[in-house]
Every structure is written in C-alpha cells, then in structure tokens.
C-alpha cells in the first residue's frame, strides 16, 4: 500500500481556522450598501383556487420598494417537469406556498407589507393520503393527474427474472409493510440569498445552493436571460443535506431584484419557514413480498413502493427511480419485480434529503431481512452473509457489480462489536466471484 504525503492522511479543514474564529463569511453575514429585506405572503391553506391578488396597499406602505406576484415573473414555471410556479398564480397546492413577495427598507416594514396583501382564494379539500390520490376517482392535485410519470408510465418498474416462478418455488413467502416519515434536514443555516441586478441587467446571486450551475440554468430560464447574465457566487454553506439543491430564495429574490432599481435584496428564511415551506424528505410506503428457501436464500423479491411526493413533480421522478434501482438491497436476488410510484399530494413538494430514496429503501430491505430471519428461526447475520453481493453478481438492473464490500463491512462491524461470527462467514470475501 503506497503511503502518500497528503492523500489518506488526517488533515484539518482548509478553512478550519476561519470557522473557529468566526471569520467564515456565510451569505447571511454579508451586508451590502442599500440592501433591502424580503418577506413573502404564504398560503395558510393546503389547496385552493386563487381569484384575486391585491398588492396595492402593500406597495403604498412607506419603505416598500417592490412587490411582486406571478405577473412580474418573466417565466413563472420551472423544474424538470416544468410544472413548478415561482409564485402561485391560479391555485394554491400546498400550505406555505408563496403567492407574493416584498422588498422593503427593513424587515419589519416588509413584514407589515405582507400583512397588507390581500389574496382572494377559495379553499378546496386537500388530497393528503397518497393512496387516496392513486385512486382513479381521486381529486386531482395536478390537471394531468396525481402520478409522476416515467416514460409515459405512472411507475418506475425494475424487472429481472421471473418473480412468480420464484414464489411458486419458495419454501416461505414473507411479506412486510413499512412506512418512513417525511423529515426535515434542519441545516443550522436557513435558506438565504443576497441578490442584486446591476445596470447592465446582470443578476448577481450570493447563494447557499448546493447546485450552483444547476440553479444558474434554472434562474436563467426563470428570468428569460442568457446564462451569462446570471452570475452566481457560492461559498461556504451552513449545512445542506439536500435542503439546498432546489431553489428556495434565489429565484424569488432574483425576480424582485429586477424591480429594486439596482438595490440588493436579502432574504433569510425564519426557522418556521424552513419547517413549513422548504423541501423535505418524502414519506414512503413500501410493500415487500419475498420468496425464501428453507436455507435462507432470497430467491425472489417483489417491492411496491409509494412516495408521497407533495404538490409538484420537482425531483420526485429522480428519487423514485433511484429508489427503484436499489430497493432490493445489496443482495444477490435473481428474480425481482419492483414498481415504484411517486404520487402528488397537497403538501410541500418533496425532494432531496440525505439518502435520496435509498434511505427509505434501506429501512425496507433491512427490516424485511429480520422478518425473514424470525420466520425461518435463523440468525440474521447468516441471512445477510448468504445473500450478500459478490463481485461479478448482477444488480437488479442487471449491471455487473464490481468492488463490492458488503461482506467486509459486516465482518468488520461484527469484529468491532465483539460478535463472534461463524468461520464460514469470516472466510467469505466480496472478491470471490460466484461460480456460474
């Protein structure tokens, strides 16, 4: 093993001393000359049609420099599915959705201005249970239906071998239902932007986004400008975990900055806004059905999963697909049938959070292994070792696996925990390619 000078060493952070002396400048620490403060009008209800938005009184409040609604947004739709409004126009689809935004001399004036905004809306029953949303007779969250589509299908399938044959052959059929919760990243730094559009029409965005170039493209599309007119500066982010992949403050601030005559605008979300209105992990329901032999081999696995995707597509198709590809777990299962769904409901659209569909999958396949172990009266270390992937095995999508490490991870965990494993498991190696 080559000993490198730097690679492989334990070296402190490059910016470590800045962090510990409080010198690291986060976006919210910036102060710019003439800076204005932003607040938004947020929907108090989960589902409604909007008939009128009146910002006239807010605009007239002394100290208010700009108020925007969807009318001021050059291109009010973004996202891979092109369905997400920057500011709600005809309807509200989730509680906390932004309908208007204010830039004012102080935060207090901005807050008061928001109180003066009048939105006439008619509340509708909210669709909150994804299983209800899946029914053909359900109310529609989106006019095109409640399913996120994958190549024209309302689910992402992963099919390998013949799972029905496996069920027929099995000594045991073991089923399980698991639900994981919607969760919030809670980075200690909340969503923050400082944005200024200069006299050349270039918009400069000091951003906390984790995906600077991704969002540059999104913003250029929203502002209807070439990417060279959107200048994004990303520095040190006070925690991400996926919370800061999608636009939260950048896009609304960018539009506001078009109307503040060159003055920069700053929006720092409150912790309450972070909980109510920022992207979250989607609750996920998983139904497992396994075909298992008496000696503990999982010869077939059927998974149906439903992701509670919230009100717009956002990255739900990505998450559901990644989940579908990995949900059968790090196990050599020759027959697999997975159908992963992502369903729209009237809650805050869900998106990335550390684990992106595989956090949920891990709970499903690992609780299921325990179910199997209990049913067979077998130790669950054994079940995992028996089924663990080796180099050369095929994944659920029939890709050849290389550089596997599950066996070694299990062995090292057992050793560190003082669990004495059977020799047959201590002798296993991921690198031992299975005989055909």
């Amino acid at each position: 093993m080559t000993e490198h000078k730097y690679v492989g060493q334990r070296l402190p952070r490059y910016d470590g001393m800045q962090h510990v002396t409080g010198k690291t400048q986060f976006v919210g620490d910036m102060r710019m000359h003439g800076m204005l403060y932003v607040k938004a009008w947020r929907s108090p209800v989960a589902s409604a049609t909007i008939s009128r938005i009146d910002v006239s009184q807010a605009k007239a409040l002394p100290g208010v420099v700009a108020v925007i609604t969807h009318e001021q947004v050059p291109n009010n739709r973004y996202g891979f599915a092109g369905d997400f409004p920057v500011l709600a126009d005809t309807e509200i689809r989730y509680k906390g959705q932004e309908v208007a935004a204010v830039a004012a001399e102080t935060e207090e004036i901005a807050r008061q201005a928001v109180e003066l905004i009048k939105v006439d809306y008619k509340e509708r029953p909210a669709v909150l249970d994804p299983f209800e949303a899946m029914r053909p007779d359900s109310a529609k969250v989106s006019p095109t239906g409640n399913f996120v589509m994958f190549d024209g299908k309302p689910y992402r399938p992963v099919i390998r071998g013949d799972v029905e044959a496996a069920f027929a052959q099995a000594d045991h059929i073991i089923e399980g239902y698991f639900r994981t919760a919607a969760q919030e990243h809670c980075p200690i730094e909340t969503q923050t932007s400082v944005v200024q559009t200069d006299s050349m029409g270039r918009t400069h965005i000091h951003t906390v986004t984790q995906a600077v170039f991704f969002n540059q493209g999104t913003l250029a599309s929203i502002l209807k400008k070439p990417q060279s007119m959107v200048h994004m500066l990303g520095g040190i982010v006070g925690g991400g975990f996926g919370a800061k992949n999608d636009p939260h403050t950048d896009h609304i601030c960018a539009v506001l900055s078009l109307y503040t005559n060159g003055r920069p605008v700053r929006w720092i979300w409150t912790r309450e806004e972070e909980f109510v209105a920022s992207t979250q992990r989607g609750a996920t329901h998983m139904f497992f059905k396994d075909a298992v032999t008496n000696d503990g081999h999982i010869i077939g696995r059927q998974v149906r999963s439903v992701r509670d995707g919230g009100a717009y597509v956002l990255t739900n198709d990505y998450v559901a697909a990644k989940h579908a590809f990995a949900v059968s777990g790090p196990y050599n299962i020759p027959n697999i049938r997975t159908h992963a769904y992502a369903v729209l409901t009237n809650r805050r659209p869900t998106s990335s959070m550390r684990g992106f569909g595989i956090y949920q999958a891990s709970i499903g396949h690992e609780l299921q292994i325990e179910h199997i172990a209990k049913q067979l009266g077998m130790d669950s270390w054994r079940i995992r070792f028996l089924n663990a992937v080796h180099d050369g095995d095929l994944s659920a999508t029939q890709a050849v696996l290389k550089n596997c490490g599950l066996i070694e991870s299990l062995q090292q965990t057992a050793e560190r925990a003082g669990v004495k494993l059977d020799d047959e498991f201590l002798q296993l190696s991921s690198k031992a390619v299975r005989e055909a």
Binding site: V20, G22, T24, R31, C186, I188, I236, G238, I268, R271
Partner: protein, 156 residues
C-alpha cells in the same frame, strides 16, 4: 423610537441606538456588524447565537437588547483571532469540531463558558454544557473531543 445602549463588547466600550423591541442577536449582527453569533432559529432552541453576558453563556436571541446596557458581552470574535487563537479554538481546528462552521461560534461560547467554570470537565459535563447547541453536521462526537482536548492541553 430608538434608545441608547452602552455596554462592553469584546473588551471594548460600544454605544448604539436601537428600538426597544430589538434582541441582542439582532443588535450585534445588524447594528454592530458582529456576525459571529448566528441566526439559527431565533426561538431560543438551537444555541447558534450563544454569547457570554457577564461571563455566563446565553442565547442572544432571547435577551432583550436594552437590558444589555452596562454589561459585558463576549462573542466568538472576542475569544481569539487567527493570529492569537484561544486554545479551545485550536482544539476545534485540530480535532475537526467544525464542519460547515455555522453552529461553531455558539458551540465555542458554550464550551468556553464550561471551561471557565470547570477547567477539568468529564465527558458528561461537556455534553451537559452543549446540550442546548444543535449541530447537524458533526454528530457532536468531535466537538466533545475538541473540548476535552482543550481541557487536557490547559492542564499541561
């Protein structure tokens, strides 16, 4: 209407005028350009705004700005500098007690308050001292190690 507030900030006398509704966190960040204490929740729950008031750790967001008149406030800026860091800051640097760095100023002030009162803390003492400081990045392990390392270093 603004009121005058006169107090000692990081060993220097400061005078500022601010409304009666201001909390100490906003007084420091928005009126005095001291951005070490962070806004994490402004609900008194996360500790990102922890400062010392007369030597005791406090959540600046819960302190009424006007009540600081005549008192002594210390923020992370007063703890040490790049050129002359406090041993606690060096320990956080060496033991990776800071990842994104956002909770770090508050975490340092909470830990420093502990070490000022109890130079030889146990691991449990350190945990108690930082239980009001939320960190989402580090899992707290290396923060605790950093504080204990600083205490050990001071012993020598």
């Amino acid at each position: 209407m603004d009121y005058p507030i006169k107090f000692t900030l990081n060993s220097a006398e400061v005078e500022v005028e601010a409304p009666a509704t201001i909390n100490l966190l906003r007084l420091l960040r928005d009126y005095l350009d001291v951005t070490g204490p962070k806004f994490g929740c402004e609900q008194g729950n996360c500790g990102a705004c922890t400062v010392h008031i007369d030597g005791e750790a406090a959540n600046a967001c819960l302190v009424h700005g006007l009540t600081i008149d005549g008192r002594e406030v210390t923020t992370v800026e007063g703890l040490g500098t790049m050129e002359a860091p406090d041993p606690l800051q060096l320990a956080f640097y060496e033991h990776y007690g800071a990842q994104c760095g956002f909770c770090t100023p508050g975490m340092l002030m909470a830990s420093k308050a502990l070490l000022d009162h109890n130079p030889h803390p146990t691991r449990d003492d350190v945990v108690e001292a930082i239980v009001g400081n939320v960190c989402r990045c580090t899992g707290y392990n290396k923060i605790i190690e950093s504080v204990l390392a600083a205490a050990d270093a001071a012993r020598e």
